[in-house]
Subunit: 212 residues, 2 copies
Amino acid sequence: MTTGRRAQKMEETRAKLIRTARAAFAEKGYAAASMDELTARAGLTRGALYHHFGDKTGLLRAVIDQIDAEMVAKARAARDRAESPWLGFVAEGVAYIELALEPEIQRIVLLDGPAVLGDPSRWPGQNACLRETTETVQALIEAGIVRPVDAEAAARLINGAALDAALWVAAAAEPRAVLAKAIEAFRCLASGLLAAPPPQPPPGDHVTAIEN
Amino acid sequence: MTTGRRAQKMEETRAKLIRTARAAFAEKGYAAASMDELTARAGLTRGALYHHFGDKTGLLRAVIDQIDAEMVAKARAARDRAESPWLGFVAEGVAYIELALEPEIQRIVLLDGPAVLGDPSRWPGQNACLRETTETVQALIEAGIVRPVDAEAAARLINGAALDAALWVAAAAEPRAVLAKAIEAFRCLASGLLAAPPPQPPPGDHVTAIEN
DNA sequence: TGATTTGACATACGGCACGTATGTCGCAAT
DNA sequence: ATTGCGACATACGTGCCGTATGTCAAATCA
């Protein structure tokens, strides 16, 4: 079963459209991205677009699905590299902050996505990032590491804080320095979820682990 | 100096446009709101609009400024009603969550605003909500109540978490129940900023203070 | 193998909405 | 009283989205 020459070429044009849309949405923004120009740049016409994705929002959905999957993979990798479940959770949050520094993710997933498609937790099939964090939190609660709050609520808050922080960092004049501040503040906030509070470092003892 | 009949009528049309836009943006969304229909509903034409606000985004800016001011006033009132500086800070955050339940604020300030105008911290003259929170955090740090993190970073994270939580609550099937979970999780997170951790309630001891 | 059908994609069309350029009318200052 | 300015209306061009229709190659089948 060789997938058929027909279906293969079709997948190719789908991928080409998504790839082109990803670039166009990222640099122009969703609203300002023209479907005529977008499809022409992909060597196609609007006919192909409406055939495969229904309308403009369908294409945005497809693009976001793809990016979302990539984000989950990277965040999970960061979590699994950590030395304890709790540090893995924190690393996951920090990974989201750093991921959201990419203009592509900022513009498409954080700004235009919610505005066009509505609340991310309602995106059908996806919002994989949120589910990933929710499961992590749930496991930490069951292990007695995190206080018994609602896992989904904690995940939403953590994700919201991380992504909003990234928005702030990216718009800052000195992204590197601001990123360090954001990560430090994020660690503080996250520690509020711990069942047994960590030892408090004395004032002025700044955390300097910025690199991955 | 009686402000002149001229200027008075002009202020009146400005206000009428902003009021109508606020309603239209809230129910249709920014992109789907037609300026023709919007101005007609206000008893005017697009000429008035472009004379006063330059373009469509200018009108959005004016609307957001107005809402932002109202939000700050309410959050500050909630803070000042509290019995201690720390509880005031928490009350401010909870107030943001509850404020963001209004569809008007959701749609205009949280969804369309960032998508059209970019990062809120760059909105000229405003983002009064963020500044308010930043100053509150700074005062708490100087009083030794909050750990010495970057005040602006903490404010961004707290605000992002609160507003994102509200987005989640509003989209939920059971807003009342979900709101309680969100507020409880928010209190946990916020406690991570404390210099001296609060006493940990035993598991199952749920906070029930939902009403203002 | 040749006819037929299916479906991926292109082309053509209508309509809406934004921004600008131009016109008009009333208030205010001299 | 005249003149100038500013608030707002009207008219126009342009771009873009969604749909309806057409076309041609590939898969199916007799």
